[in-house]
């Protein structure tokens, strides 16, 4: 702050000097910000290239594709054009069934998760009851006392949930992290509303359904999306627990199909076919992505405040 006053009190030549110094800094900063923007654009292109590459390869003709690769070309357009491989996969009834499974598991799983999370978050956000502290400790404890892979597996076995979709829907439904996130959303509702509702004789059930849920739709959507993405992309336990081909979600099917394609001898055809399958697997996510992006950003920001 000293310098500001010094600038004003300085002589004419000093003023000229400081203004030109200021101008120089201005252009230096300006150059820096241009470089920054350019770097960001370049980075974005690099990040995007793998997906872009898969897109163009999935509709390429394997013969032209092989030529291009053997000549070490850098691909930016499809080599020859054929939708055959994509259509082939789309004709596969297994894929549609697997997609249906994924959709079902995602919806049901998210519903169960939200039910558990909303009720628990409501309880955690209650003020004025000492027992809440104990409950909070119990919930946080579940973040650390995770049973190992094998204990989880035998537990699901012992509960008789193996081989049924309940075996993946229920055991992985609750995430203490998401619940705490939701609790943060719930605690932003001012206590006055609580008190006046209680004065009017509202029960906790009534408060939850009439006040808290409607007021926290953004928060609920955010953690709902967190849960949904995990469900949609999950494959490990689905493969382990479901054990029946017709129950498998898309990711497991993709894994098995890609393995089969990889094992078959035909190199470049296999590659194009694999890329076509990958495209089919990621298109829905990419279509939804722009709409749900902001929810995740918000969720991360609220989570960081905690």
């Amino acid at each position: 702050m000293k310098n500001v006053f010094a600038k004003h009190q300085s002589t004419n030549s000093d003023q000229v000097k400081s203004i030109s110094r200021f101008k120089k800094k201005l252009t230096a900063d300006y150059i820096l910000s241009i470089v920054n923007n350019v770097l960001l654009i370049v980075l974005s292109l690099v990040m995007l290239y793998p997906i872009f590459y898969i897109f163009i390869s999935s509709v390429s003709n394997p013969i032209n594709f092989r030529e291009a690769i053997n000549n070490n070309k850098f691909l930016i357009i499809p080599q020859g054009f054929t939708m055959d491989y994509i259509v082939d996969h789309l004709k596969n009834a297994d894929i549609w069934r697997a997609y249906g499974n994924t959709l079902l598991y995602t919806l049901l799983g998210t519903a169960i998760s939200l039910f558990l999370s909303i009720t628990c978050a409501y309880v955690l956000s209650r003020r004025g009851m000492k027992i809440i502290k104990v409950i909070t400790v119990i919930v946080v404890l579940t973040m650390w006392l995770k049973p190992g892979m094998i204990a989880t597996y035998t537990n699901i076995q012992n509960l008789g949930l193996m081989g049924s979709m309940l075996g993946i829907l229920i055991p992985f439904a609750f995430s203490a992290y998401n619940v705490i996130l939701l609790r943060t959303y719930f605690s932003t509702i001012p206590t006055d509303i609580d008190e006046s509702a209680q004065l009017d004789g509202a029960s906790h059930f009534r408060m939850l359904t009439s006040i808290y849920i409607p007021a926290s739709i953004p928060g609920i959507t955010t953690i709902g999306l967190f849960y949904a993405i995990e469900r949609w992309n999950g494959y490990f336990w689905a493969e382990l627990v479901l054990q029946k081909d017709k129950l498998y979600p898309l990711q497991v099917l993709v894994k098995k199909l890609l393995q089969r394609i990889g094992d078959s001898g035909n190199l470049f055809e296999g590659t194009v076919s694999a890329y076509a399958l990958i495209i089919i697997a990621i298109v829905p996510i990419m279509l939804i992505f722009p709409f749900i992006q902001k929810y995740f950003k918000k969720g991360v920001m609220v989570g960081s405040v905690k």
Binding site: M1, S44, P147, M149, Y235
Partner: protein, 357 residues
């Protein structure tokens, strides 16, 4: 007017059993109508003391609301954790279950720490640590750098593009990301192999190369998570007081010095907390992606503690599954994670003012 409203109120109380929902808006309106009444009530309410909870009549509902989550936690966290502990002391077999399998004391633990074939404990530990440390060293500064770059950018278009493209890979499933990587690294058809051949690197299946495995994994993780990881720092950056920047530029600091003296100190608490959390996870590596990328060729580098658990128990391998050992390792994982985070937290407490708890 007052008596009418009071009558309405008593009706509402009796109606609480009916499922008709009263508008939240209506409630707020009603309560704003008699503020004086509220004031009196509040005074007498506060006499109850905070420890009792204000609405004692309905407190039992809190317990009912907690019941679903509690049952879930008992069934799927606490019970399996206890059986995990028990199993680690047993020669467990599925047919005999927890209560029928023979007790073997610490045999599983000793076996785990002293085994030599096919992997020694130290090699598993080393692989896990090296992999995690590399991911951290590459990914952690990158996320911060990306956040700063996005934050400093003055163009909304560039910001939007950068955020979208870096965030997108996060939503792609592990299966797809790993198979993309596998395809890209295939000797004859892979695009990365192709690009490398411009620089004279001979074509080979890079994934079978144990030495390259860690870098491949770390870079793949970077691609998938750098956008997501940068979000937290972006949030912290937007919380920095902009007048600090103005003061700094008044004092003659250029962009670089501003970043060092304003930005970085401003997000230092966030950096420390995320670092603590990540170090706490140093030994409990996610196994899904490593398993998908594992091949016979890279196993010496890619067999980490958690993949070993899978391979020794659940994988459809020939030979005996050692469930007891797997349980031991799982327990080891959980305990080490807790210990690590506590230690790092204590260190952070001493070194700076920031801590997790």
């Amino acid at each position: 007017m007052d008596t009418e409203v009071l009558e309405n109120q008593s009706v509402v109380v009796e109606d609480s059993v009916v499922t008709e929902q009263t508008d939240a808006v209506e409630k707020k309106e009603k309560s704003s109508k008699f503020k004086a009444f509220e004031e009196k009530f509040k005074l007498s309410m506060s006499e109850f003391g905070k420890g009792f909870g204000r609405n004692m009549k309905y407190n039992w509902q809190i317990y009912v609301l907690f019941l679903p989550a509690l049952i879930w936690m008992i069934l799927f966290v606490f019970v399996p954790f206890i059986s995990n502990v028990l199993m680690s002391f047993q020669d467990y077999s599925t047919s005999k279950g927890v209560f029928g399998s023979p007790f073997v004391g610490f045999k599983n633990y000793i076996d785990f720490f002293t085994m030599q074939y096919p992997y020694s404990f130290l090699s598993l530990l080393g692989n896990t640590l090296l992999l995690n440390v590399l991911v951290l060293v590459i990914g952690f500064p990158a996320a911060i750098l990306l956040a700063i770059m996005i934050y400093e950018s003055k163009s909304k278009v560039v910001k939007g593009i950068a955020q979208t493209t870096t965030f997108l890979p996060f939503f792609i499933s592990a299966v797809v990301v790993c198979n993309m990587t596998i395809e890209f690294l295939k000797a004859d058809t892979g695009v990365i192999v192709n690009i490398l051949s411009w620089f004279g690197v001979p074509r080979s299946n890079l994934l079978d190369n144990a030495a390259a495995f860690r870098w491949i994994y770390a870079l793949m993780e970077l691609w998938q998570t750098v956008g997501y990881n940068s979000l937290i720092y972006l949030a912290a950056l937007s919380a920095i007081d902009t007048s600090l920047y103005e003061a700094a530029s008044m004092d003659g600091a250029g962009k670089f010095r501003q970043i060092f003296h304003v930005t970085l100190p401003g997000i230092a608490p966030t950096i420390i907390i995320t670092l603590i959390l990540k170090i706490g996870k140093l030994l409990s590596m996610g196994y899904e992606k490593v398993l998908l990328l594992q091949t016979a060729g890279n196993k010496s580098a890619s067999e980490i503690i958690s993949t070993y658990v899978y391979n020794v128990s659940l994988a459809p391998l020939v030979g005996q599954s050692n469930y007891g050992m797997a349980a031991t390792i799982g327990l080891f994982d959980a305990v080490v994670a807790i210990v690590l985070v506590t230690i790092v937290n204590k260190i952070a407490k001493k070194v700076s003012d920031t801590q997790l708890w």
